[in-house]
């Protein structure tokens, strides 16, 4: 049993499903946390202080990084195997089959966009917050306190190109989740013809909530920077 998670196609898919589920739950938490920044700057900074360089926040960050790494590495392994299984000679005529979503056939490409966005996001926020605290600093490169998340959000999203890049990132995440959420239920076997419309509806709701929650913060701070 120990090795079916790497030896078997269904085991590898289970790993993708479980790690994906974990990441969706984290994203929902992160989105909820971000929305607080619109409602209350003090409230948001209190959360930032709570999630600083404390042992539980560091443990959470390590588990999260592991989750992203596992999901990403397995996606690469699965794609290499799938390309090999498809063979060297490809069809000269290809079509999109009826009822097949574009996102379902482009999950890896969407994943790459999400990882690139994640890199930018870590540079913009994590490296100026938790990392600064970890290294014992009291101010980040921009001169703010590492626990002053709102100041960092205000600074970052007053620049139009970051707003544009983050919105592209959220669109990629939206597409990824519209397929990913229902797909994780299918992979563990919790799906049937009655539940497909419900699961796909749930996927769209989760993806749209995540998009709107994240985008609202970016747009709100950009608009307030113009006023």
């Amino acid at each position: 049993m120990s090795c079916f998670l790497s030896n078997s196609s269904l085991g590898r898919k289970l790993v993708m499903s479980i790690s994906g589920c974990f990441l969706v739950l984290f994203i929902l938490f992160h989105m909820s946390m971000n929305v607080v920044a619109i409602i209350s700057a003090d409230g948001y900074n209190a959360i930032c202080g709570f999630l600083g360089a404390n042992w539980y926040a560091l443990a959470g960050t390590a588990v999260l990084a592991l989750g992203v790494l596992v999901h990403f590495v397995y996606a690469i392994i699965l794609t290499i195997q799938n390309r090999r299984a498809r063979g060297n000679v490809r069809y000269s005529v290809t079509v999109t089959e009826k009822g097949v979503d574009w996102a379902s056939k482009n999950m890896l490409a969407l994943g790459f966009v999400i990882v690139l966005g994640l890199g930018l996001h870590l540079y913009n926020f994590w490296a100026k917050m938790q990392l600064v605290e970890l290294l014992g600093g009291h101010t980040n490169a921009l001169g703010y306190s590492p626990a002053d998340g709102v100041a960092l959000i205000r600074y970052t999203f007053s620049q139009w190109y970051y707003v544009a890049l983050y919105l592209v990132w959220f669109v990629a995440l939206w597409f990824h989740l519209t397929h990913g959420v229902w797909s994780m239920f299918q992979t563990v076997g919790w799906a049937n013809d009655t539940w497909y419309p419900r699961l796909k509806c749930l996927s769209n709701i989760v993806a749209t909530l995540v998009f709107l929650g994240f985008a609202a913060v970016v747009v709100a701070f950009f608009v307030s920077s113009l006023l």
Partner: protein, 247 residues
């Protein structure tokens, strides 16, 4: 009706193939696609050329022998039918029709449009059967089976093993085929007994033969000539994972 055909020609498994163009003229709209290929082959033989090799047998949609990837679709443009049930009236007069063999590493081309689908037989041999003693034919109602279960089993049993699922899947996955076999037996009392062993053995053989990993695109069910649902893949996932957790 007149058509231009772009057909994949390949001398044998080792040779490099290429598309060749053929013109077929005065084809009746009621001619089946395979009859149209017969007419083409008749012309080729009369000209002293090598006829196009393609698989076919029953020509009534039940044997799963015919294949062909036509204009980007496994089994042609119609949904829920095999290639032998495609008729020339479904194409436009003067249309160029591109005909390719199944493309999947597990289905190597033998000649022209004929591929070796022996991999599916090997998966079946690994566990797609019932080995418990069922004795002689029992009375029809001796074992009560719920109508819904019997229906689901029959829906899965409609799989003709043609290979369209793996040929369509961008990952070259045979999951719909394996799922249909596992599901049709798992829903019946005689097949249920060996459900766990069957799921593990068939998945292991599928992986060993180099089929890809399913990513739930649903392309297989869209192109399946028997419209088999990916709900059977969900059942295979359940069967396999619960069997593995019991190990």
């Amino acid at each position: 009706m007149n058509f231009t055909l772009k057909i994949w020609r390949q001398k044998d498994a080792k040779s490099k193939g290429e598309f060749k163009k053929y013109e077929v003229k005065d084809i009746s709209s009621d001619t089946s696609f395979l009859e149209m290929l017969d007419i083409l082959n008749n012309d080729l033989v009369h000209k002293g050329e090598e006829p196009v090799a393609f698989d076919h047998d029953c020509r009534e949609g039940i044997c799963g022998m015919c294949s062909l990837h036509i204009n980007g679709h496994a089994h042609g443009p119609e949904q829920g039918v095999t290639t032998c049930q495609i008729y020339m009236r479904q194409f436009k007069d003067g249309e160029t029709i591109v005909v390719e063999p199944w493309r999947s590493a597990a289905f190597p081309v033998i000649k022209d449009l004929v591929v070796n689908r022996g991999a599916y037989d090997q998966i079946l041999q690994a566990g797609g059967y019932v080995s418990v003693r069922t004795n002689s034919v029992p009375d029809g109602n001796a074992i009560p089976i719920a109508k819904a279960d019997a229906d689901e089993s029959m829906d899965a049993a409609a799989c003709v093993g043609c290979g369209a699922c793996a040929a369509t899947c961008k990952n070259g996955s045979a999951m719909l085929f394996v799922a249909a076999r596992v599901s049709s037996l798992a829903k019946l009392p005689q097949g249920r007994v060996e459900g766990a062993r069957r799921a593990k053995a068939m998945v292991a053989k599928m992986d060993e033969l180099g089929f890809g990993n399913c990513t739930n695109t649903g392309a297989c069910q869209a192109e399946c000539p028997k419209s088999i649902s990916i709900a059977h893949i969900a059942r295979l996932n359940r069967e396999f994972l619960s069997a593995k957790l019991e190990d």
